[in-house]
Symmetry: C2
Subunit: 211 residues, 2 copies
DNA sequence: TTCATATCTTGACCTAAATCAATTATTTCT
DNA sequence: AGAAATAATTGATTTAGGTCAAGATATGAA
């Protein structure tokens, strides 16, 4: 994938159809590739870039003083992350690690901020994007505090069901378990139990939601 | 408080200093007062208003199928809530209840949306506001999944310490406990334990953070 | 002020899910 | 292909914090 294609897919996600921003965006962004396991930034790092995922997957996570970790989100193809640096200048409030070999578009947040200010169209797109993100996090807060592990796992699967009840597990299970706030052991046990209860069927990396 | 003062304090929070929006905003908003315990809206309700708290406190919460409840946020004087309806049209994704007798400014979201579209200044303010909210929720997700009840309670107190180590508990303890995702019993026990350990001292509604 | 209602505290008990430990599978690298 | 490393499963054990119950305080209405 070349830079032009990258920018086009970024604009497509923002739902901006004409090409007049291509040159502008080209000047404030660059392609970067990261190998699986590479850290992009850690919480507290100074940094100025927001990212758009062209290929691969990046885990956004937080760690506490005891070394425990929670995955806030896994950004995959077509998703933005760290866009918060547009407004909380200077330091990243989360950490990010590539969990697959990934190709990313790194966008300079200061200059992107100016673009947003100059173009109400961008501002509205970002507002819509932030609203979705707020909704996602609100739901996550709810699940983590009042839904049990089984409900959270079913929630995860249901959100990925496109209507046919078939969900392909593309990420390592330990990443999924961390993203629903559950230990890998518990994840494994619940999956087994759901299968025994007849709620799902498991064939390799494909899970079918029954009933 | 009259309508003009209400609008002025709303604009002050948005950090907009001139008065040119006063008339516009007047046309799309109204003062409403709610008694303690009154529901403003429930999750799933159709609704078009976002709110600004002039006086009192409003609990924003979510409930699951088993009737368990988590407080997402308690909006107090000078805070906006339900601003998400600006972008997720039609239905509220959370519920809201006045937990004190409250005076609110209800703002029509459709017409506010148009104002934001017309005035990049508004758009940027809302983006900044959303960014803060995203940060708050991200921190909350982290606390709920990897911090224990004691750390969450200390986090709550520390965020309210303005530097002198003195925190006044203005809200009912059961509201605070729900907002940190803990049962009232556990809340009570941890407070006692912290006091015994010498980490805090409690004098009525005032808690002093020692160390 | 007094009665009624709601909130808070404390104790006893229980349970969901984490942790620890040991295999077993699956990737990845040479 | 084979070895080494990483991920996933399963069992045994522990524990943080929820629930239930009872009593103590506090709040508010008449």
């Amino acid at each position: 994938m070349n830079k032009k294609e990258a920018l086009e897919s970024f604009l497509a996600v923002l739902d901006i159809k004409d090409d007049r921003f291509l040159k502008d965006l080209n000047a404030i962004s660059m392609l970067v590739s990261k190998r699986k396991g590479e850290i992009l930034f850690l919480e507290g790092d100074k940094g100025e870039d927001l990212y758009f995922v062209l290929k691969g997957a990046v885990k956004i996570f937080k760690t506490n003083s005891e070394g425990k970790e929670i995955t806030i989100n896994i950004a995959q193809e077509g998703e933005l992350f760290a866009e918060i640096v547009l407004f909380l200048k200077n330091t990243y409030p989360v950490s990010a690690m590539a969990i697959e070999n990934s190709l990313l578009l790194a966008i300079d947040s200061k200059r992107m901020f100016d673009k947003i200010k100059e173009n109400p169209e961008f501002a509205m797109k970002f507002l819509g994007l932030f609203a979705k993100r707020l909704n996602y996090l609100t739901e996550k807060v709810k699940e983590l505090s009042i839904d049990d592990a089984k409900e959270r796992l079913l929630g995860y699967l249901n959100r990925r069901d496109k209507g046919d009840g078939v969900v392909e597990i593309k990420l390592p299970k330990k990443e999924i378990s961390s993203s629903i706030g559950v230990s890998p052991e518990t994840f494994s046990r619940i999956l087994k139990k759901l299968s025994e209860e007849g709620a799902i069927s498991i064939e390799g990396k494909v899970i079918k939601l029954l009933k």
